[in-house]
Amino acid sequence: MSNAFDFPGGIYPPERKQRSNQSALIEAPLPRWVTLPLQQHSGQAATPCVVVGDAVKVGSVIAKREGMISSNLHASISGTVSEVSATQICIDGDGQDEWLRLPPLAWRHVEPDALLERLNESGIVGLGGAGFPTHIKARVVERHAINTLVINAAECEPYITADDLTLRHHANEVLEGAQIIAKLCGAQHIVIGIEDNKPEAIGALKQALTNSQPIPVALTVIATRYPSGGERQLIKKLLDLNVPSDGLPADVGVLCHNPGTLLAVLHAVRNGQPLVSRVVTLTGEAITQPGNRWVRLGTSVRELLEQAGLNTPELHQVIQGGPMMGTPLLTLDTPVTKLTNCLIAATLEELPPPPAESPCIRCGECESVCPVALLPQQLHWYARAQDDTKLERYHLFNCIECGACSYVCPSHISLVVDYREAKSRIRLQRIEAVKAEHAKHRFEFRQARLAREEAEKQARKQARQAQQRRPTNTAAASGEKVDLRGLRIAHAAAKASVKKAEKTLARVAQEDPKQSLDDLEMQLATAQENLKAAELQLAQAREQQSSEESS
């Protein structure tokens, strides 16, 4: 079963998970102070709703979501707000750890709207690393029918064991959280995808599955191979479904959630506990007590690592996330956020910097490991040449930046870095192009407005003349033949373009509510101005014709 379906490519890096999966999941000591960035999720940053000096409890809302894709932020310790800036809020703890919880919800009986509102209030985002707000993800059912909820417990990156330990300790609760989300989205199946290198977690899940599950749950153990935990790769592997490259899993009726997120969902619904802490893997050769901890958001990375026995002279770099897709931290004085699933305090021998780059010899090894079946070496040439047309034709934007190509490259070329640079360059150009397009539309609107005003002026003038009844003047005007037919055609065309603009606007607003509609509104206004001008001109011409006939 497990090998029935497959994605292309993939690599087998050393797992190095034993270092952090030997000890139990424990609570990290309560921090004395926390720093909470306002942007801990994808989308817009939250807006602070506290001021310096406010007393807060654990779970007090300190920043509210802003705009469509955003998420609330809560105090993770009780104490006093000591700093509110444009990017972060700091809280000094009082050591009391007093909680402010929302009322518990009986999820089997409440309305979906109440559940959605609870997820929204609780500031829950995807804890696998992307940080997409969970309540927005749940609302996908408004546009797509969801058939299957996938629990992504593959955790394919080396070092990370946060999901592994979460499942060992909380398998029942994760499954209950999955039931909540599945009910909310109308999914009829739940599938757990887990790599076979986590036997204890698999055992815990099997044990938990003996309890009754209202929506049937299937446990699928897959072979360990990086990057099987990529959303698209896992869906391919579990369900043999191809997520369209310009679409989302929802397009094939699938929703993917990380076990940690599902646990947070349950805590928010059943216990009324907002997202104030998460499981973080602390690992690497430069700490003496590796393992997984429940960490309050905003805890300093330095403090956390020092509590785990950081050996500073040995430390080469700290990586946030996994060694394949994570980022090296520039400073340890940075807080744990909703996105921090793993901190690797690595020694130099453990993760040495790659040797100097040598020329690409087109060996094609990168192609054979690419899980998306791209041609990384072709992308490399085009990225270095900044040939953006070719890059897009070779599907640069399908790249999931898993780093498998960089891992195997015999010439040590930093392929993923090149791709990221190229992607951001092309994105910037697209934004510029859109801006230019908008400017063009604004100009067209102005022209249309001026034309309409001119037409109005003419109409007024004609009306005045008609009132004064000076037929001598019409003689001059009637010298030029009135092109009534042409004006009628122009009027019909203007009417049609207004209809078209209205239709486009309605369709886009329905399909993609998060897109800004200013530009389309502008185009509609332009078409309306044109229609008005055409109407006036037509009316004017008719008037003129009738007056000619009467005279």
């Binding site: 060694p323 060996c363 072709q378 034709r393």
Partner: protein, 349 residues
């Protein structure tokens, strides 16, 4: 941003990664050893002196051009690619070839075919084969005369240094390769009659077969170590055997047998050491299959209908010409993508 690299980890569960570029080149050089050793066993020390001389030319020329181009010499020489080109060209020349012949070949290979195009990774044509083809076209006499097996040539080595042909070789056509002999048997002579006349010196056919098998052994090592992928050799040998079999079955009295095509000439050497040069080969897996199949087919066509007895160099160079086209039209379909061909301006991603 991947902080982990295959060459930086020693605890990988499964060794799947290829070694770094420099050791990749050295592995290929090491894998030529059985072939070179077998050749020199049958054809004399002239084979080894060829290889050494060509390798020395390769390094010297690469260093000289890098110096002219103001590029770091040491790092480029460290990748051993010039050395490899020298070894490959040296191994394809008749034993104890004159020094200037080797020099001219290496200039064509390293200076013209490789460095003028931008150095390692940028050459559209296989450098060793450019050198070989140039020599074959310009100096056919020197290039088609092979010393009979088992003649270790002390005077041959002297001739190499002096830059002349060993006199023994000029005596007769006894030095022709089996492919050459078969090619020039004439249409009137049936294959069975040709073989009945024992047209080759004693042991020549056996010698060539042993050499071919030695190249096969080296190639097997490369495949096992994942230095080369199977696509090109298998596609090339497959199409070669298929086409040779078709010809042979249509008229066994005039066309050589598939086994003859496989085990004589540079077929196996070409399949594992020449066609697999990644720089000048197609890059996608589908492209590699087409590329390999094209080489195999061209070898049979040129050997059968063309003017040259062996055809690996020309077949490889002709397929090198097709690589940009193959690369354009053999792009795999990314998962989740409806259209694949970047050659056609399709939908925007």
């Amino acid at each position: 941003m991947s902080m982990m690299h295959a060459s930086g980890v020693k605890d990988a569960m499964t060794a799947t990664a290829v070694p770094p570029t420099a050791s990749l080149m050295r592995w290929v050089i090491a894998a030529t050893m059985p072939g070179i050793a077998t050749m020199s066993y049958f054809f004399g020390l002239g084979v080894i002196s060829n290889v050494l001389l060509a390798a020395a030319f390769g390094i010297a020329l690469e260093a000289a051009v890098l110096w002219l181009r103001k590029r770091p010499i040491r790092t480029a020489l460290n990748d051993s690619s010039a050395l490899l080109t020298g070894v490959l060209l040296g191994a394809s020349l008749p034993p104890a070839s004159p020094w200037w012949l080797i020099g001219v070949g290496m200039i064509a290979a390293i200076v013209v075919a490789k460095q003028l195009y931008g150095g390692l990774g940028h050459n559209p044509f296989n450098p060793a084969m450019v050198g070989y083809a140039l020599l074959l076209v310009s100096f056919p006499t020197y290039m088609t005369l092979w010393a009979p097996p088992q003649e270790l040539l002390p005077n041959g080595l002297w001739a190499q240094i002096a830059g002349t042909l060993p006199t023994t070789q000029l005596d007769s056509l006894s030095g022709a390769t089996p492919l050459d002999a078969f090619k020039h048997k004439g249409d009137a002579v049936l294959a069975s009659e040709f073989w009945a006349t024992s047209p080759l010196p004693d042991g020549a056919l056996t010698a060539w077969r042993w050499v071919a098998l030695a190249w096969l052994a080296g190639g097997a090592v490369l495949l096992a170590k994942r230095i080369i992928s199977w696509h090109i050799p298998i596609a090339m040998l497959g199409s070669l055997l298929l086409l040779a079999t078709l010809f042979y079955l249509s008229d066994p009295s005039h066309f050589a047998s598939p086994l003859f095509h496989l085990l004589t000439g540079a077929t196996l050497f070409g399949a594992f050491f020449i066609a697999t040069d990644p720089v000048s080969a197609a890059t996608s897996q589908r492209g590699k299959l087409i590329y390999g199949a094209g080489i195999g087919a061209l070898i049979i066509i040129i050997r059968t209908f063309g003017g040259y007895p062996d055809a690996v160099a020309f077949a490889v160079l002709l397929m090198n010409l097709c690589v940009p086209l193959l690369d354009l039209y053999s792009v795999p379909r990314p998962t989740g993508q409806q259209k694949a061909l970047p050659g056609k301006p399709g939908e925007q991603p």
